[in-house]
Structures are given as C-alpha cells and as structure tokens.
C-alpha cells in the first residue's frame, strides 16, 4: 500500500524536522516530526501508518497550501497537529481501515485560514478505533469543514470525537462539523461532536447521526434484480466513496477505492 502510493505520486521522504517548500512528501517511518511548510509553499504529504505511535507537528506558514492524505491500515496511534497561518489552507483526507487511535488537531491561528477534513473509517471484526478531529478557531474570519463517516460492523467499536473551539476574538468563524455513521451487525458507535464557543458573530453547526442502511433503498435495488449482498455493498460504497473521490491528494483515488473495497468485502 505504502509503496504503491509513494511510487504513484513519486513522493520523497520527509525529514524528521525542518522546512519544506513544495513537492510531494511521505512519512517513511511513523515517528515524531516537526515540519514547517514555507510561506507560499504548496505541499502534498502522505502519511501511511505503521505499527507505531507518533506525533507529527506541522506549521503551515502564510499563504501556503498543504494537502495531506492519511491512510491508516495498521494498528497505530498518530497525532497530527497542524497550525495554519493567515490565508493559508490545509486539506486533509483520512482513510481508516484498522484498529487505531488517530488524532488531528488543527489550529487556525491566522486570519482567513482554512481547514478541511474528510475522513472515513470502515471497521469489521473486533476493530477498536477512535478518530479525533479537533479544530481551534483562534483567529477571526477562518473557515473549517469536518466530515467524518463511519461504518462499524462485526463486533467492532468506532468512536468519533470532535471539538470545535472558537476563541473569544475569533469573530466571523464559519465552521461545520458532520459525523455520519452506519452500524451493521453488532457494531458499536459512539460519537461526541462538541462545540465550545466564546464569540458571538459565528456560524457554527454540527450534526451527528447513527443509523442503519436504508431498507427502502435496498428494496428498490433488489426490485431491479440486485442481490441483497450487492445492494448492501453498493449502498455502503456509496456512503463512503465521496470521501475518497474528493481526496485532498489527487491521483490515488483508485488505490484508495481498492483498499476500501477489500475492507468492505469483509463486512
């Protein structure tokens, strides 16, 4: 998986610390990092977990653009702390297919900074997975979008926790946080979407759902001749696909879709 992604994108290994300008980088072994993306830079970054725990700190300087693809296919605990300066932008896609404890903390420290996270976790068997996505709106006029989708099947346990914090002076914050989950079999979902707001001129919303597959839709597909299994698979694929299709790092959608399909076949 890691090699395929890296070679497809022709990524170069990320140093343990230091400044990077532009290009495609990958985290060779999951270990602590301290990285700064230069002002005005355009960086794409691949983080593919190994069996490890690590903290990756990234400063995105003003006017820079950072796109991260975080693939979790092993038991791991990765924390990614991102500080986003004025008029810079970070987009992140997270695809989780295994027991793990991932944590993303994005701090919008400069005006007009943007953060966007699209995440999906698909759990089977006895997977135990926790996905945390916290956003700190420190400066005014920033925007954040969090969309995390979860599927818990078998005897798995999926947990989403997301805090949107809006500091006292972070006026005109525009934030949306959404968490949608589907449970199958004995899957267990726990979700904690949280808002902590200290400014009044803000647009903040969050929504969380836990549900099952849409039985009407399954009936409809079966009437057109699809088997029950196909109808279910198609629906779950449809549920998670858009996260991959809008991947922050382009050019690897096929690899991700394949990885998800393999996981979904175990549902």
């Amino acid at each position: 998986m890691k090699e395929r992604l890296n070679s497809t994108l022709q990524a170069q290994p990320l140093p343990a610390s230091g400044r990077i300008g532009s290009g495609v980088w990958y985290v060779e072994t999951l270990a602590d990092r301290d990285i700064t993306v230069d002002a005005g830079g355009d960086v794409r970054m691949l983080i593919v977990d190994g069996d490890a725990a690590a903290e990756i700190n990234i400063d995105v300087e003003s006017g820079a653009k950072l796109s991260i693809l975080h693939v979790v296919n092993h038991k791991s605990a990765a924390t990614v702390n991102i500080a986003i300066a004025e008029v810079s932008e970070c987009r992140m896609t997270q695809v989780v297919c295994s027991s793990s404890d991932t944590r993303v903390v994005a701090s919008l420290v400069g005006r007009d900074a943007r953060f966007e996270l699209g995440g999906v976790f698909v759990l089977t068997d006895d997977n135990q997975t926790s996905v945390t996505a916290d956003v700190n709106h420190i400066s005014p006029d920033c925007r954040s979008r969090i969309m995390v989708k979860g599927v818990a099947s078998g005897k798995s346990h999926g947990r989403f926790s997301g805090l949107v914090y809006v500091a006292p002076d972070a006026q005109r914050t525009d934030s949306e946080q959404t968490n949608r989950n589907v449970t199958i079999g004995e899957g267990h979902i726990e979700t904690l979407p949280q808002l902590e707001i200290y400014a009044d001129d803000v647009k903040c919303s969050h929504g969380a759902t836990v549900g099952q597959m849409d039985s009407e839709a399954i009936l409809y597909m079966r009437q057109r001749g699809l088997s029950l299994a196909d109808a279910k698979r198609l629906q779950i694929e449809g549920f998670v696909d858009d996260i991959v299709l809008h991947s922050a790092v382009e050019g690897v959608q096929d690899i991700l879709t394949e990885m998800l399909a393999e996981k979904l076949s175990k549902l």
Binding site: P193, D200, K203
Partner: protein, 482 residues
C-alpha cells in the same frame, strides 16, 4: 445586696428560660453549620421519621463521605465547604403583610411584568391571602377532588408517615443514593418536598401546578420529589414558578424521581428562577439537581424546563426508557446572563424495544455567562428500533459569553436511528435595526426574537405558564443589549 438580688433574679430567669422550653430553639441554633451522623439523626428525629427512614439517610450519608465533588461539568464552581452549610433549620415563619402595598416594590414590579394574578401575587409575596380570597376553601376543593380520584398529593414527610409502603417501594428506586455526589447528599439530609401518587387508570383532573403555586411555601434547600404514575394514569406537574425566588441558602441540591408505570403518561414542567446573583456575579444560588424518570412498557415522560435563575445550574432531567414502546422527551430553554453558569441537558437511555426520544434544547447566553448543553443518548444492545432526534441550538447575545454543546451518542444496536443537530446563532444588528425601524424598542425586539427562538419549547408548557415564561425570558435579559 439589692444589686446582688437583682442579678440573681436575672440569672435565675435566664436559667429557668433555658430550662423550660428554649432548649430546642437554642439547640437548633447550635446545630448550625456542618454535617455529621448526629446531624442526620437529628434531622430525622425532628421530622419524626420512622427508624427505617433514618437508616436510609445514614446509609446515604456514609456513602456520601466516600465521594468526591464532581469535576466534569463545564462550570467554574467555587469550592464549597460542606461543613459550612446549615443542613436543617425549622421552617421560618414568613412576615405576614397586610396588603400588597407593603410588598417590596421591586418584587411587585416583576409580578406585574409577569402578569401574575393579583391573588397569587399576594400569596407569593406573603400577604395574608385569607383577606382576599378563601384560600382554605380553594385548597379544600382541590384536595377533595384529588381524594375522590384516589390521588395522593402531600409533602414527602407526610408520605413517609402516612404511606410508608409506597415510599419504601419507590423512594430511591430511580435515583439511588449511590447515583452521584449530590444525590447521596440529598438522600442523607433532604428537608422536604412533594409526593404524588396517581392510581391505576386515573387521569389527574388538574394541573398540579395550580394547587402547588398557592401552596408554594419555602420547600427548603434539599428538596425531594417523588411522583408515581400507576398503570395507564396521567398527570401534569409543574415545579417552581416564574416569580423570582430568593433564599438565604446558597446551596441547593434537589432530587426528583418519577416512576411512570405501564402506559402511563407524565408531563413534568419546571420554571426555575432562583436568585442568579447580582450584575457582578456576587451571590446567587448554586443549584445541583438530579432528575430522572423511569418509563415502563408503553409509558411516556415529558420534561419541559425553563431555566433562567441560579448562579450555577447543574441539571440533567433524564429518561430511562426501560419498557418496550416507551418514549421520552426533553424540551429546555436555558438562559444565562451576567456571570451565570449553566450546564444542563438530558440523558435518554434506551433499553426497551421500539423506544423513542426527542430532545430540543435552546440555550441563550448573554453578558459574561457560560451556557452548556450536555447530553447522552445511549441505545442498549436489546433496544431494537430505537429512535432519537436531538436539536440543540445556541443563541449568543454579546461577545463576552460562551455557548457550548457536549452531546454523546452511544449506540450498541444496529437498528437504531439517531440524529443530532446543533446550530449557533446570534441576534444580529440587522434584526434589531429592522425591528427598531418598525418602532420596537431594542428591549422589546430582543424579547421578541428570543421568544421566537424558544417558541418550540415554550409551547410545551401548560398554557398559563407559557405566557409568564415568555415574559420571564424578556425580563431576565434586561440590560443585556445596547
């Protein structure tokens, strides 16, 4: 010699007074502050309770000693010295006033704004009500009507003596003393409260509020309420009132337990307007409340609350949906202004099959206040086809306050469908300008907008209180805008 005699006589008088009847009073004073097993025994003794009740209190007290003050709420609670609290005081006789003219004009102004009927104003302010209306006969009429239906409605102290079988069966069955710090404290030292029993198949013919309001005496700081709605019965119960309530006691820790038996329906409405402290955050009530109801098969429990008072509010009226096809609702408006803090919400615990719950929470923060919604929706393994819908909105007025939302959704059953939504909004300059342009004062405009925002919850209150609650919201916001 003469002097000595005088002195001796005085001394004798003092001692004899002490000896002949002031013992109790003096002792009451000396119980004063602090909590110990002896105090718990004394409380039970003063209330003339049976031995088994004392045992229960002691058990709760011993458990409380092992507990630590909870820290998880989004509240900044000054350290409370539980040994500096007075746990028992004989009910104080209110000073009887002869007419409404003697009532504190500030209080009178609020009554008028709330539109409370004159007779009730007098009753609430402590005017001798008998002068204007025959309250005794009104009460008797109520009592007769209730007794005819077999409904028991009395103080909890009375119930302990008169209906020990019901108290033994139900008290502590929904909120055991082991539940939390304040539930344990309440179980040990509760002063008084209400007991209500609706027999099988009986529909309580009146809002118990009407009776309650006229009967509203100081219920004390550790209030205990138990409502039992037997199979197929219905009752609507209103706690508190819109009139501002001042109390010497800063710490309040009430417990409300509701047992909703098969196919019964209980509607519990609260309007809480305890003293919130002054504009600088000095004083005000600390209100730590545990409220919970258990719903058996096909039962329905609806909580509606309008929380505008108290310096600190810590309150989560909850539903345990134990029986199949049972349902619970929580409708809340919590408003904080100045330096008030509120951490309030609900728990919906789905255990039975086909259980339904609905949560509508409307937070309003103004001034420098902090207002948090905290909720839990849990679906147990066996709770097939559970449904929950939660809507938690926050309205911010001014840029110095905080509005927070902390929901937890926890589903162990794949057939559950659970939805949570939250939004945050403010009263915009544009809205105010628009209203001003149409001739409304800013204060009226804010009142209007806030009431529109809270409408869905206010509509759930019994008619007469909905109107008062609307006015209450506007009054509580005075001075928060412009």
């Amino acid at each position: 010699m003469e002097k000595d005699t005088q002195k001796d006589i005085l001394q004798e008088l003092e001692t004899s007074e002490y000896k002949y009847g002031f013992v109790t009073d003096i002792e009451t004073e000396t119980i004063g502050r602090g909590l110990s097993e002896d105090i718990v025994r004394l409380i039970s003794e003063k209330k003339g309770e049976p031995e088994w009740m004392l045992e229960r209190r002691l058990q709760a007290y011993r458990h409380w000693l092992t507990l630590e003050h909870p820290q998880w709420a989004h509240l900044d609670i000054p350290e409370i010295d539980f040994q500096d609290v007075i746990y028992y005081a004989a009910p104080k006789q209110k000073k009887q006033l002869n007419s409404l003219d003697e009532v504190d004009p500030e209080l009178k102004r609020t009554f008028d704004k709330l539109g409370i009927p004159l007779e009730e104003q007098m009753a609430l302010a402590g005017v001798a009500v008998d002068a204007v209306m025959d309250s005794v006969s009104v009460k008797t009429t109520f009592r007769d009507t209730l007794a005819e239906k077999g409904i028991i409605f009395c103080s909890i102290s009375e119930a302990i003596k008169e209906h020990p079988e019901l108290i033994k069966k139900y008290l502590g069955s929904v909120v055991p003393y082991t539940d939390n710090f304040y539930a344990a404290l309440n179980a040990a030292v509760f002063s008084d409260g209400s007991f209500c029993y609706i027999p099988k198949g009986v529909r309580c013919p009146m809002e118990l509020s009407t009776y309650f309001r006229i009967n509203a005496e100081g219920t004390g700081q550790f209030e205990r309420t138990l409502i039992v709605a037997d199979e197929g019965s219905y009752v609507s119960y209103l706690e508190g009132c819109t009139a501002p309530r001042r109390d010497e006691n800063q710490l309040h820790a009430a417990v409300v337990e509701i047992v909703v038996e098969k196919d019964a329906d209980v509607k519990y409405s609260t309007v809480q307007n305890w003293y919130p402290g002054d504009k600088d955050g000095k004083g005000g009530i600390y209100n730590f409340v545990t409220k919970r109801g258990i719903c058996r098969q096909g039962a329905h429990l609806s909580w509606t609350q309008v929380e505008t008072g108290s310096a600190i509010t810590w309150k989560y009226p909850s539903c345990v949906l134990q029986g199949d096809n049972s349902s619970g609702e929580f409708y809340s408006v919590a408003m904080t202004n100045n330096y008030q803090q509120a951490d309030t919400g609900t728990k919906m615990i789905h255990i039975g099959k086909n259980t339904r719950s609905r949560i509508v929470s409307k937070g309003i923060s103004a001034g420098r206040s902090q207002n948090a919604y905290r909720g839990l929706v849990r679906v147990a393994k066996g709770a097939d086809n559970a449904r929950n819908y939660s809507q938690c909105d926050s309205l911010l007025i001014g840029d110095k306050c905080g509005a927070h939302t902390f929901p937890v959704i926890d589903s162990y059953n794949p057939s559950a469908v659970l939805e949570h939504e939250a939004t945050t909004s403010k009263i915009s300059e544009d809205q105010l300008f628009y209203c001003n342009q149409r001739g409304l004062s800013t204060e009226d405009a804010v009142g209007l907008i806030v009431n529109g925002y809270a409408r869905e919850v206010l509509a759930k209150l019994p008619m007469e209180f909905a109107v008062e609650a609307q006015k209450l919201l506007a009054i509580s916001l005075e001075g928060s805008v412009g």
